[in-house]
Structures are given as structure tokens and as C-alpha cells.
């Protein structure tokens, strides 16, 4: 067996350096859809992290028994079962947020982030590192979701977690909300700016250019 991978590194790598959303651009659909408020973003982030960690653990522990030809089916069945459990828990205890999240909890099943981690990592590693890796990726996803959700709620409503931070002009304050922030395009913009910022900070994350501009014809004098 190969050298045990460094658990701390496996956990912290996906936070920024290998962040699943901003580097691998996985799990975008839900990241854009549920980030209108911090409460929904946090619930979604926790649900996904729990599902991802448990699924990675289960799949990793039976990784030697899953036939290769039907491995996707097995993985999806496991993930879907976990998602249904989470969905029921949310409906029971957080009914209002569950309604706000609508189909997106159910769509964790098909979230490419979950399938990507189970397919790429959990299938080849023992349960503990697999769960640590899944947890780290869940945290990386959560980080992006909370940043986007925080910005959108702060500038769209002047609140954080429903608590007034910037008093609105309608209610006697000074802040006029940007209603664009509550629309889906703003999540695209924020995510794009976030990716831009991260890739300017760590240029090695930037993709190689697809086209090379033609050389400029300098005057031959």
C-alpha cells in the first residue's frame, strides 16, 4: 500500500487551492440557485457536505465489491438514498427553508461535485481519507456558497441571516438595495469575479489560453 496521504493536506487542499467550485467549476447549478440568502446557502452547504461525506465513506468501504460496469448506478443509489434522508430531515425540522430550497436538495443526487468526488477519490482510497477528502470538498463548496450568499443577501436586502445590517432607505435608513442581487444573473457575476480574483492571486489555477494572438507586424525600418 502506498504511503498514507497527509490527512491535513487532503482536508485543506480543496478549500481554495483545489476548490471544487472555483477551480473545477463543479456544482455550479445549485451554487447559483440557492444563494439568495445566507440561511438557504448554509442549509444547502451543510446538506451537501453531510451527503458527500457519508456517501464517500460508504462507497469507499465497499469499493472492492462494486463491479466496475455498474459502479455509477451503485454510487447514485447510495447518494440518492442519503439525499432522501436529508430531505426528509429538512422537511421535518426546517420546513420553511426546505420550501425555499425546493428541488435543489433533491438535485444533490445529480450534483457533479458529489459524483466527481466519489468517482475520482472514494473509489480508490480507504474510508477515512475518502471521508476527509469529501468533507474538505464539502467545506470548499460551503465556503463559496456562503461568500456568494452573504454578498447577495447583504447587498440585495441589507441583511445577513435575516438580521438587518444595512438599514434600508424604505425603513428610515440610508441603504438602497440592489434588486439585481436577488436575481440569478448576479450569482453568475459574483462567482465570475470570485474566480477571477482567485486566479489572479494564484495564476497557476488559470487555464492555458485556447488561442494565441498572432504576432504583431512591427514596422521593419
Amino acid at each position: 500500500m502506498a504511503r498514507r496521504p497527509d490527512v491535513w493536506r487532503v482536508l485543506t487542499e480543496p478549500l481554495i487551492r483545489q476548490n471544487p467550485v472555483t477551480l473545477q467549476i463543479l456544482g455550479i447549478c445549485s451554487a447559483l440557485a440557492v444563494t439568495t440568502t445566507m440561511a438557504t446557502a448554509l442549509t444547502m452547504a451543510v446538506s451537501l457536505t453531510v451527503v458527500l461525506t457519508l456517501a464517500a465513506g460508504i462507497i469507499s468501504s465497499i469499493r472492492r465489491h462494486i463491479p466496475d460496469s455498474i459502479r455509477l448506478i451503485v454510487q447514485i443509489v447510495i447518494v440518492a438514498s442519503l439525499v432522501i434522508v436529508i430531505d426528509q430531515v429538512l422537511q421535518a425540522y426546517l420546513a420553511e427553508i426546505s420550501r425555499a430550497l425546493s428541488v435543489y436538495v433533491g438535485l444533490i443526487t445529480t450534483n457533479c461535485l458529489v459524483l466527481g468526488r466519489t468517482e475520482a477519490y472514494a473509489r480508490h482510497h480507504p474510508p477515512l481519507p475518502a471521508m476527509v477528502d469529501a468533507f474538505g470538498n464539502g467545506l470548499g463548496y460551503s465556503l463559496v456558497l456562503l461568500i456568494v450568499g452573504g454578498l447577495r443577501e447583504l447587498f440585495g436586502k441589507g441583511e445577513l441571516f435575516g438580521v438587518v445590517v444595512l438599514p434600508l432607505a424604505d425603513a428610515g435608513g440610508w441603504f438602497t438595495p440592489l434588486s439585481l442581487m436577488l436575481l440569478a444573473p448576479s450569482a453568475f457575476f459574483i462567482l465570475g469575479l470570485l474566480v477571477w480574483a482567485i486566479r489572479s492571486w494564484w495564476p497557476e489555477q488559470a487555464e492555458a489560453p485556447e488561442h494565441v494572438p498572432p504576432g504583431r507586424a512591427e514596422a521593419a525600418e
Binding site: L178, S179, L180, F189, W196, A219
Partner: protein, 260 residues
């Protein structure tokens, strides 16, 4: 003069010259408020051009003045300094400068800024234009087409569809005026409009069709709002129209000569 006369800045300067009739007439009628709005937009855009020059070595362009003019003329009123600055910054940075500056942008930065302001602050009232200012758009279009800066085919196509719609009674006067000013300021842009002959015709026609369509079906929309939305959609469709034109050409060649 080894590189010839036609640099990017020549195009920008001629574009500015073509827009002068419209700009001067608008400044004359709107007075101090208009001049202040224009100065404010120029300052904000200038700062961003300066930032991108220092950080990314992108040369600043005279086109900043064109963008500033379009934003100052068409932006919603009563926004206040902060929100206007936010919208202008968003449009100029995300619409133009991140792509590498004027000449490499996909959509007109003024269109992006106006659409951002319109969707972001839906309660702000849009400006309205009287007939004289709209008439001033005609010499601007003629000058631009004559100088070869604005696409002639696009303007003719847009005008013919507008004439047809007027005959059928589908366009009201305020919408027509706003659409004419929008055509000159936002749509007939040498960078972001279609680049092939057929593509330009389609682009102009599509713009006017969007205007007619929105005027008929978008209840409660201001004429300038209709114009900005149409300009945005038309400029997003421009690459597709160019591709259609090229495909038509390729398939005609193939039919004529038997192979690609």
C-alpha cells in the same frame, strides 16, 4: 506612418465626430445637468481605463467618451452618484475592459451599464426624448455611414424595418425616437455589431424587430428601456448572425463548386 492611418483611435475619433451633432444638440437642450452627468461618466470611465492601463498595460482609448456619452444620455434618472458609479463601473469593466479593451469586447459597454442600471434599479425613471434630439440622430447616422465607421447595411436594414412597422402602425413616436437614438449610440457600433454583409442586415432588422416586439408586448416599459433591452439582445445575437452569413456563403460555394 508605416502602419497606415486606420488605427483603433482613428475609428474612435471618427465615431466621436459622427456623434457630435447628436451630442452637441443634446448638451444644448439638457444644459448643466446633462454636462455634469457626462463629466461624471467620463471621470469614472477614465479612472477605469487608467487602472487597466497601469495593471494590464491596456492602452486607454478615446472610445471612453463614446461610452460616456451613451450612458449619460440614456441612463435612468435620479440614481444618485453612488449607484450611477456602480453601474458605469460594472458596464465598463465587465463589458469591455476585462476582454482586453475596446475592439475586443463582445457587447457594447454602454449597453451593459444601462441594462445593469435598468434591471438593478427598476424604480428609477428613464429619460424621455423630444423629437428634435431624435432628429439629430439622423445626421449622426449619415455621417457615421459616410465615414465608413458605422455599418451602413445595419442602419439601412433597421430603418427599413422601422418604416414598415410605422406603416403598419406598430411603432409609436416616443418608441421610435428612443430607438433611433439607441441605434446610433448602442447598436451601430463598429466593434460589437455584426461584421458580415448579410449579418449586418440581419442585425439591424433584428434590433428593430425586438423594439417592435417589446413595444407591443412589454406593458409598462419606458421607450429607452425597450431600446436598451433590444440593443442588448441584438448585440448578443450578432456573432450568431455572422455565423449564419458565413454558413450561407460556404454552402453556396459548395453548391456552385461541388466541394468545400
Amino acid at each position: 506612418m508605416t502602419r497606415g492611418l486606420w488605427t483603433r483611435e482613428t475609428v474612435a475619433a471618427l465615431m466621436l465626430a459622427a456623434l457630435m451633432p447628436l451630442a452637441l444638440f443634446w448638451l444644448w437642450t439638457s444644459g448643466l445637468a446633462g454636462a455634469m452627468g457626462l463629466t461624471f461618466a467620463i471621470v469614472i470611465i477614465g479612472v477605469w481605463h487608467l487602472v487597466f492601463m497601469l495593471v494590464r498595460a491596456q492602452p486607454p482609448s478615446l472610445s471612453a467618451l463614446i461610452t460616456a456619452l451613451a450612458i449619460a444620455m440614456l441612463a435612468p434618472e435620479e440614481l444618485g452618484v453612488f449607484r450611477l458609479a456602480l453601474g458605469v463601473s460594472f458596464g465598463v469593466v465587465m463589458g469591455e475592459l476585462v476582454f482586453g479593451g475596446w475592439g475586443r469586447n463582445v457587447v457594447n459597454p454602454a449597453t451593459v451599464a444601462l441594462a445593469f442600471l435598468g434591471f438593478g434599479f427598476p424604480s428609477a425613471p428613464w429619460p424621455a426624448f423630444d423629437a428634435p434630439i431624435a432628429w439629430a440622430a439622423i445626421p449622426a447616422a449619415v455621417l457615421g455611414a459616410a465615414l465608413g465607421i458605422m455599418p451602413f447595411a445595419l442602419i439601412v436594414a433597421a430603418a427599413s424595418v422601422a418604416a414598415a412597422a410605422l406603416m403598419l402602425g406598430l411603432l409609436t413616436e416616443p418608441v421610435l425616437f428612443a430607438a433611433g437614438i439607441g441605434l446610433v449610440l448602442l447598436v451601430a457600433d463598429p466593434v460589437t455589431s455584426a461584421a458580415t454583409g448579410l449579418g449586418r442586415v440581419l442585425n439591424g432588422a433584428l434590433y428593430t424587430l425586438f423594439v417592435v416586439f417589446f413595444a407591443a408586448g412589454w406593458s409598462g416599459a419606458a421607450p429607452v428601456q425597450i431600446t436598451v433591452a433590444s440593443a442588448l439582445l441584438a448585440s448578443l445575437a450578432a456573432p450568431l448572425l455572422d455565423d449564419i452569413a458565413i454558413q450561407v456563403w460556404v454552402s453556396r460555394r459548395r453548391r456552385r463548386h461541388g466541394r468545400a
